[in-house]
Structures are given as C-alpha cells and as structure tokens.
C-alpha cells in the first residue's frame, strides 16, 4: 500500500520551498502552442500514429526534476523559501481586499507553508476576500458548526445513525497511518465528528470511504507545525470547524463521485481513458490488449484524489495547484491522473496484465519530492492546454481512422 511511504513526525518539514521550475514556465505561458513548444524540445519522435504532433512529448517524459535540481534529492532540511515569494504572499494576503486571480496565479506554483492556511481558506471560498469581514464570518461559521455538533452529539452515540457512525468509527483509526498528526487520539475524535456531520448533512452520498482521506490535508495545514498535544481544545475545535467547511466546499464540487453508483468516477474514468488514448495510443492499445481496464487502477486515483499514491506532504503541494485551477479536483485532476499514468508508460509497455496491475496498484512514488509533484502538475497543465475543450481533435482522428 502506497500509504506506507513516508513516516515523519511533522510531515510538512519535508515540503521543500518553491523552486522556480518548469511550472513557472508553463503557467506564465498563455498561448497553448507556445506551451507545447516550450515543453517539447527534448521529446522524441514517436513512430506510431499519435492523434497530432503536439501530443508526442507525452510519450517521452522529461528527465526527472531531481536530475535538473540537485537539491531535490537532498530531502530535509528544506532550502530557505524564496523571500520574494514570501513577500508576494505577505503583501497579497494582507491587502484589504485580496485579489483572487492574483492569489490563484501565485498559489499555482506552490504556497509557502506559513501562508498556506490563509491562502487555502481564501481559495476555498471559506474566508471572504474582504479582510474587514473575515473575522466575523469565521466566527459565525465556527459557531454554526459548534452548535451543530453539540446538537448532534448531545444525546450520545445511541442517537446517531448507526451505520454511518460505525463506518466512520472503523475507518478513522486506519486513516493515513503514516501521519502522527492524523493518528493522534484528539485528532481522531475530531475527524469522526467532522466526517459524521458532513455525512448526515449530505445524505445523497453519505460517508464514503476515501472521504476520510480528503479531510486530512486540512488538519495538517490548519494545525501548522504545532504539536497536537500543545494545541488547546479551543484551537482544535476551530481547526475542526474550518476543516469541516473546507471539506464541504471541496466535496460540493465532486459530490457525484460518492453518490449511488459513483457516476462522477465512472464518467471521469472514461474521460481519462479517452485522454490517454489521444496522448499515447500505443500505451492505451497495450493496456487494452492485456485486458487492463482503466477502472481497475483509476478508480482509487479518483476516489481518493491520488492520496493513496502520494505522501501527505506531496498531496498538500498538489492541492495548492488544484485550488488555483478551475475545477481542480475534478477536471484538472483527470489531467494529473493522465500525467501520472503516462509517467510510467515505458515501464507499462513491458508489463503483462498481472504485472501492470500490481505495478499500478503500488507505483514507486515513495521517494517523490515536491519537484516530482511539480513536474507532474506541469505535465498535467500541458495536457490540459492541448486537449481541454478540443474534442474535435478526437472526433477528427476517429473519423480519419
């Protein structure tokens, strides 16, 4: 299980600072063709017919960022955060009315850890952009949540929906076993409450396994570097409320991933398969010839937003970008899944059904650094630029064939 990847006392210590990398290159590039050209220089020609020339870079991934940046392999301690980036966030977040577009633009490239809590809450739409309204809004939201939990739990466990509560109770202890923060008993009780409250407020989906994973990055980011033992009850309660509201916002955008028959996931798996066959037809053909169905590996990638495949610290970095992207957790995530699969294209081409499934079930991401994630995001962005809103490419190719 990929979740056994990293065991750290404080996960974000591993989060290296933003390093100007290809991500910047991609993001600052506005014209789609330029983006492709920027990213393409080292691409090999693929002999097999790809839908279009611009798709070819995907078949030969760029060299790992680790090769380009010697710091990447160094691990902790992190290099100092670029002061200009820190300053930019500082200036932006302390302005009376935060410029959301500017915040998204900055956040796409990674948020410095000390600004992440505020930045995420703004990007989530939980905090108002208008600074003068922030304190009152948060106080109201926290009170609303506190009242709701008090009311829900006042009559004890017997009054709860037994099935929902049971499922949450058995899942919380096995949530993110690699994170001491999440495994802390106080955080565990807190997760249970927040998940239960979310579930009973959203009966169309209710609690579905995997939603527990999605709640954890909020706790890690909102608690910051504090030791859980030293966090006051009130601070933990506030974190719980903030996390609850942010989870609600997050799931609002992807709720049909968790409703009956999980239509959101089914639809996105189809999209992923189409996308991959446009980008790398030989890989798609190989998987198909081996009898490998995308749902067999991609279901979990979508249900848990790749959180079972990458470490919590890497997830946090991914979410900086997801929050800055329109429909980051749905639309953009599929491009990330495509980039994730295509990263292993060369290996997968050599594997039969059984070996490929085993490989994809446990991809070798244990040593992944922020640079790996940023490369993945950059590749996803490139695919998005090339393929999003361009179904005609696919139609044209299909007709020609």
């Amino acid at each position: 299980m990929a979740s056994s990847n990293v065991r750290q006392s404080s996960f974000w210590k591993r989060t290296p600072a933003f390093t100007p990398s290809r991500v910047e290159l991609v993001y600052s590039s506005t014209a789609h063709t330029d983006t492709a050209a920027d990213l393409a220089p080292k691409a090999k020609q693929q002999p097999a017919a790809a839908p279009e020339p611009a798709a070819e870079p995907a078949t030969e991934p760029e060299p790992r960022t680790a090769d380009l940046n010697p710091l990447a392999a160094a691990g902790p301690p992190s290099p100092p955060v670029s002061s200009t980036l820190e300053d930019k966030f500082q200036a932006l977040l302390s302005s009376p009315h935060v410029d959301l577009e500017q915040l998204k633009k900055l956040s796409w490239k990674g948020i410095p850890s000390r600004h992440r809590r505020t930045a995420w809450q703004l990007l989530m739409g939980y905090l108002p952009l208008n600074g003068s309204r922030r304190a009152a809004t948060v106080a109201r939201k926290r009170k609303e949540y506190a009242d709701w939990t008090a009311q829900t739990f006042q009559r004890g466990e017997a009054s709860l929906d037994r099935q929902v509560w049971h499922q949450i109770r058995i899942d919380v202890p096995r949530t993110r076993p690699d994170s001491p923060v999440i495994q802390h008993v106080r955080v565990q009780r807190s997760l249970e409450r927040a998940l239960y409250c979310w579930a009973v407020r959203h009966p169309a989906s209710g609690y579905v396994q995997g939603i527990n994973d999605l709640l954890t990055p909020f706790y890690c980011v909102f608690l910051g570097e504090a030791e859980v033992d030293s966090v006051s009850d009130q601070a933990l309660a506030e974190t719980e409320a903030d996390a609850f509201w942010c989870l609600t916002r997050l799931l609002d955008g992807i709720q049909d991933n968790y409703t009956h028959a999980q239509p959101g996931i089914q639809r996105q798996v189809v999209k992923l398969r189409e996308l991959v066959s446009r980008i790398n037809r030989p890989l798609a053909d190989h998987l198909s010839a081996e009898g490998i169905e995308f749902i067999q590996f991609a279901f979990r990638w979508i249900n848990c937003l790749l959180m079972r495949e990458v470490s919590l610290a890497n997830t946090v970095r991914m979410w900086d970008t997801y929050l800055a992207e329109p429909d980051g957790f749905s639309t953009f995530h599929i491009y990330v899944c495509a980039a994730f699969l295509l990263r292993w294209a060369a290996e997968l081409m050599q594997l039969d059904f059984q070996k490929a499934i085993l490989f994809l079930q446990n991809p070798p991401t244990a040593a992944w650094t922020t640079q790996d994630i940023e490369l993945l995001l950059a590749e996803a962005y490139m695919y998005k630029c090339l393929y999003h809103d361009s179904p005609s490419h696919y139609a044209a190719t299909a007709t020609r064939r």
């Binding site: 949530t175 396994q209 999980q262 169905e293 749902i295 067999q296």
Partner: protein, 204 residues
Amino acid sequence: MDTLPEIAATFKILLIGDSNVGKSSILLRFTDDHFLPPDEASATIGVDFKVKMLDLDDTRYKLTLWDTAGQERFRTLTSSYYRGAQGVILVYDVCSRESFDHLDEWFEELSTYCTKDEVVKMVIGNKIDKEAERAVSRKEGAEYARKHQTLFLECSAKTKIGVQQAMEELVSKIAESPTIRRSPGRNTVTVDESVSSGYGGCGC
C-alpha cells in the same frame, strides 16, 4: 517468473464481505505471510489485486485474487469483478454479529452475479484470536455454511491459524469440480472473449 513446475490451472478468486472484517489481512497473510496492525492498514478502496502460486499434491495452481472494498457504496464497482470467478470467499468477523448477519446480503449479491454451478463458495470467520470478543460461535458459522452448502472455516489473519488451510481447501474443491470452466494453465492471463467488453472483464 515461475516456470517450474508448470501451472496446471489459473483460478480467479474473489473476497467479499463487510468492511473491516479482515479480507485484505487474510490475503496479505496468505500471499506475503505478513500482518499489519489495525492502525497501519488502510481501508481498501475499490478492488485490489494479488497473485499467488499454490502447490497442492504436486500440482501448481496460479491464483489471481481480487480483494474488494466492503462498503456498500462500492457495490456497483465490485459487482463487475464477479464474472469469471471460480472461487468466492465470504468473510465475516467472529466478533461482529452484524458482519455475520450481512452474509445473507452477500449471498444474494453473489447469486445475482455468479452462475450457481460455476463457483465454489467458502464462508470464513476471521479474527478468532480475539476469543474474548467473540459474538458468533463456531457452531453458528458452520450451521450457516451447511445451510448454504458452502465450505466453512474459521481463521485468524493475525496468528495465521486457518488461512493457508482455507485457501488449500478452496482450491482443491475448485480443482475437483467438474462443472468449473478452467483457464488454461499458462503464465499469461487469458481473457475470455465473451466478456472482454465492459470493465472488470478480464477472465483471469
């Protein structure tokens, strides 16, 4: 790659049952002889896949094992994996009356997606290491299995007891069953052409 002795047959085996009864733990014990403490194992999302060779009476079988998520919401997904299975293991937790009571639902699920004569069924009661918390007696489990004409065993993925034995019994029953359609015993997985469309269609 295992080349010797030659694989006599490949069997597809599916594990079903409520959430947290220990399906993944039983498999991990069987395939890797390993056990993860409860706080180190994550819940299965969707379906996990494992492969294991099993030698029985000088005959080698390849088992492709599909470990399904227990939560109800995943049924739509997991139901697509029943097709082509030669063995299905229904797991309950001997410390959870509820998981035992839900076996009826799992049998119903099974009869919907599997042809009656083509699959060997086995009921397994897991977690017998927690004797003090036992909520379902061995007799009850055996009685239930008799009623449904399935194999029955109790085991503990934690202490190993019964796990290997369960798999061996299941496989020998599959091997001696005349009505079960066999995949050729090659190393490659054979895809049943009649079910190659739709997901989960791999007849391994």
